[in-house]
């Protein structure tokens, strides 16, 4: 929806401490200025039966009136090569070449290797034209002419492509030949593909240099009211492009097609896209191994660690066979950082209490909350609330309901309920998608970032799949309960945990995690285990946590990477051979498949999801053990039959105790939910043979388990095994058995004495 007027924005840092500066990047349409107010966020969910939306205004220097503008977002991933000496448009004859695997050859003109500015009509480009055919075009400042192949490129087939421009003859020879093996392309080499093309044509002008950066996967243009933009964005992979002086003949091209690096003085540039890899990941730099060292730099994170034209299927990781991993994947809708101008810059005051905050902007009859988290300079409480910001990133701007409503509704067993946020996202593709979505060409979204407006970071946001809050807005129900539980608490985030490890948690007696802490880096996993081994205590008030392996670059905490592999509840699946994180070099997928099932750390792990109704728990014999019966003081045999999320405390997603997956042997199995519908099937990663009857009415493994176990040095983990638990806490103003039970556990966990 046009949603005009609107105000939206993001904070450049999600987690800040007193004394640190945070910048708010704001864009608006139809609103010239806004009143800014710092607010402490207490609760988001407006469901009947709960406290509703709660915020507290805080006096601060952030308050005031601010002028707003509409800010531009450059989407699309591409590589930029600065060329200050103008070497990349040689004066005479030259040849441009690359390996290419196009996913949307028919989408319109796309740049592969270009130094072209459409606005000034200067420069040249090797790319794909409106007919989906390989094309070489050039401009002299007046006109643009092109020579195109006669056969369209087939999608997802590797080709060697080249254009040899002969300045003396004024001709261009185009060369296109598939380089298909049994592994690298969508189709098999057993087919006779109608794919090759050799075309010679006249270029009735002399190319004039564009005087701009060379680009891989796009070309320059101007946008009215903004200025320079990159357009002609390419979808697919490019591998080892280069530029040679002279119009190369067939024999020389054949050598390049065989994969030989260009030799001799004729090389102007050769970007060895497989160079510069390390065991700990691949950055944005694309190395030019030619004589001038004109290295490229990725914009909006072109995806690295992808299979190249010569991938042979034996090695499944760039670390094993880097030379077969020269593919760089480009997407025209990628967005990592909107790079907006700062609208507000503010230093967190020394006396601001740790918590969840937002810059609230009101103007033109509309309002926006830009959320951020304030952690303490040093720990101020025994209790910490760990906001699962990595998981917020994973779901950031989830467009499931726009892209594939059938999948969503079948999974949830709930009718779809769209809100204005969903329409707003639909009107703003430039704000990007979540790791539950696909790029325009069908590739799964593996990168997500908070340097863009994110609907799910708004406190009142509700998920269209079920109409209930999810992630951040759901976690605010735990925050609301903490605000009135009688214990001081600090707020910390996954970002801090990934950066600082166990030292972040060490000062706290108890750490509470959120409703759905699903995405975990290895540093976060290690930090949690180390904290528990040193006597720390965790209350895991959620489910399907500690599940996906994710990675962050150390210096770019706003951007997270995940690859969804061949098991786990996955919205997409990485292509064969593309299972490893470019950010860290680790194998991604689910932690269970790396030997770290969540049961080993939390006692429970993912067992089912369904989103029609939530159910209560019933106690089990361990709950009457005198060592742990304090947990159930004031709680009946059956509990948790009300809540803001689908009417109960056990629902949405469920975790289960399982000794086979590493639940500690002495774990107390305190209670379990039951009565879930067949819209809660047992999860796929636990199913080796499919058989009927795996839904909640026929499979005992569909349940939420409540567990407690002790770790070393007096540490402990209490788990509820349900996402809906947190949203049951505020029911009836907190006067309910879920809140009572949670209070019993927290009251004991903050004390020095043993928990059992």
């Amino acid at each position: 929806m046009a949603n005009t007027p609107f105000i939206t924005g993001y904070a450049d840092s999600l987690s800040v401490r007193p004394g640190e500066t945070v910048q708010f990047m704001v864009s608006a349409e139809g609103v010239a200025s806004a009143e800014v107010q710092l607010v402490r966020l207490i609760h988001g969910d407006m469901a009947p039966g709960g406290p509703g939306f709660v915020e507290r205004e805080i006096a601060s220097s952030l308050s005031g009136t601010v002028a707003l503008t509409t800010q531009f977002t450059q989407t699309g991933s591409f590589v930029r090569v600065a060329d200050p000496a103008g070497r990349l448009t040689p004066a005479g004859s030259f040849t441009v070449h690359a390996f290419v695997w196009a996913t949307t050859p028919g989408k319109g003109r796309q740049g592969l290797v270009t130094q072209f500015d459409a606005a000034s009509r200067r420069g040249y480009g090797l790319g794909i034209n409106e007919s989906g055919c390989l094309s070489f075009w050039a401009g002299d400042g007046q006109a643009v002419h092109e020579v195109a192949a006669e056969r369209a490129l087939m999608p997802r087939i590797w080709y060697f492509v080249a254009a040899a421009y002969d300045a003396d003859k004024g001709t261009v020879e185009l060369y296109q030949e598939a380089v298909v093996n049994a592994y690298n392309s969508h189709l098999s080499p057993l087919l006779e593909l109608d794919d090759g093309s050799r075309v010679a044509g006249a270029l009735a002008l002399t190319p004039q240099a564009a005087g701009a950066d060379l680009l891989l996967a796009g070309f320059h243009d101007q946008r009215a009211g903004h200025g320079p933009v990159v357009t002609g964005l390419f979808n697919g992979k490019i591998d080892r492009p280069g530029i040679q002086a002279g119009a190369l003949g067939l024999a020389e091209l054949a050598r390049l097609k065989e994969g030989q690096a260009p030799q001799g003085a004729s090389t102007v540039a050769y970007w060895d896209t497989s160079a510069g890899y390390t065991d700990n990941g691949i950055g944005d730099r694309v190395q030019d191994t030619g004589p001038h060292g004109l290295h490229g730099l990725g914009y909006n994170r072109p995806v690295r660690a992808m299979t190249g034209w010569n991938w042979r299927g034996k090695d499944d990781c760039f670390r094993l066979a880097p030379a077969q991993y020269g593919g760089i994947y480009f997407n025209d809708d990628a967005i990592i950082d909107c790079r907006w101008q700062p609208t507000l810059r503010w230093t967190v005051p020394a006396d601001l209490k740790s918590g969840v905050y937002a810059a609230r902007l009101r103007g033109g009859g509309v309002e926006d909350h830009i959320t951020f988290f304030v952690r303490p300079t040093t720990a101020t409480a025994k209790v910490a609330m760990l906001m699962p910001t990595a998981s917020y990133l994973a779901y950031a701007n989830e467009r499931f309901v726009l892209g594939d409503p059938g999948v969503v509704e079948a999974i949830t067993g709930h009718g779809l309920i769209l809100h204005d946020d969903d329409y707003f996202l639909g009107a703003h593709p430039e704000f990007g998608a979540s790791t539950y979505d696909h790029h325009a060409d069908g590739a799964g979204v593996c990168y997500t970032s908070y340097r863009r407006p994110i609907m799910g970071l708004r406190p009142r946001h509700r998920m269209a799949a079920t109409g209930v809050p999810w992630q951040f807005a759901a976690d605010m129900s735990i925050v609301w309960w903490l605000e009135q539980c009688g214990h001081d608490f600090d707020v910390i985030t996954d970002e801090d945990l990934d950066r600082e490890g166990a030292a972040l948690l060490a000062p706290y007696k108890v750490v509470l995690n959120g409703t759905h802490s699903e995405y975990y880096s290895e540093r976060m996993m290690d930090a949690t285990d180390q904290y528990l081994a040193r006597g720390g205590r965790v209350m895991y008030l959620g489910a399907n946590g500690y599940y996906w392996v994710v990675g962050f670059r150390a210096d770019e905490p706003w951007c997270m990477e995940v690859r969804k592999l061949n098991s786990g509840s996955r919205a997409w699946q990485a292509a064969p051979g593309e299972y490893y994180l470019a950010s860290t070099g680790e194998k991604s997928g689910i932690w269970r498949d790396r030997g770290r099932a969540p049961q080993k750390s939390m006692g429970v792990g993912f067992t089912s999801e369904g989103m029609d109704e939530s159910k209560p728990y019933r106690r089990l014999p361990d709950s009457y053990d005198p060592r742990v019966s304090y947990i159930f003081e004031g709680v009946g045999e059956k509990f948790g039959d009300q809540g803001l999320a689908l009417g109960g405390a056990a629902g949405l997603e469920l975790d289960r105790y399982d000794l086979m997956w590493g639940t500690p042997p002495d774990t107390f199995l305190l209670a379990a939910s039951s009565g879930h519908s067949d819209n809660y099937p047992h999860v796929g990663e636990e199913i080796y043979f499919n058989l009927p009857g795996m839904g909640g009415t026929q499979d005992f493994q569909v349940r939420a388990d409540m567990t407690l176990f002790k770790s070393r040095a007096g540490g402990a983990v209490f788990s509820t095994g349900s996402i809906a638990w947190g949203q049951a806490l505020p029911w009836n103003n907190g006067n309910n058995d879920v809140a009572r039970l949670t209070q019993n556990v927290l009251d004991r966990f903050v004390r020095d004495e043993d928990v059992a």
Binding site: L418, H419, R462
Partner: protein, 120 residues
């Protein structure tokens, strides 16, 4: 020789035939009792027949709800929601009860199903 009257993805023909047959099988199972069962409780575990019917609707949803005021106002919309579109409820009826609204979607689906030949 390519037969251009057929879809490039021939599986679409099987999908269409499967849907025809499934919908034909479901039509005789629709009763007043079944509709009442859904009205009383649109979410959760239902009778086997109603579960089968809902599974079919849910895998290819045609309708959804738009909630202008979260938790308080619901209107029926038609899917898919195209990028950049505004909410366009199919009528002026505003439900204040979510279950009533979900049932309205169900009735729309039934109407399509029972229409002569069934909606595809």
């Amino acid at each position: 020789m390519t037969n251009t009257s057929l879809p490039a993805d021939r599986q679409l023909l099987v999908y269409a035939r499967f849907n025809e047959e499934l919908r034909a099988e479901m039509r005789p199972l629709i009763t007043e009792d079944l509709i009442e069962e859904h009205r009383r409780r649109p979410l959760g575990q239902h009778s086997d027949t109603l579960m089968r019917l809902l599974n079919m609707f849910r895998r290819a949803p045609v309708y959804a709800l738009y909630s202008r005021t979260p938790c308080r106002e619901f209107q029926v919309i038609r899917l898919p929601v195209t990028e950049g579109s505004n909410p366009t409820p199919i009528d002026d009826v505003v439900y204040t009860d979510q279950n009533e609204a979900l049932h309205a979607v169900f009735l729309r689906n039934l109407e399509d199903l029972m229409r002569s030949g069934g909606a595809k």
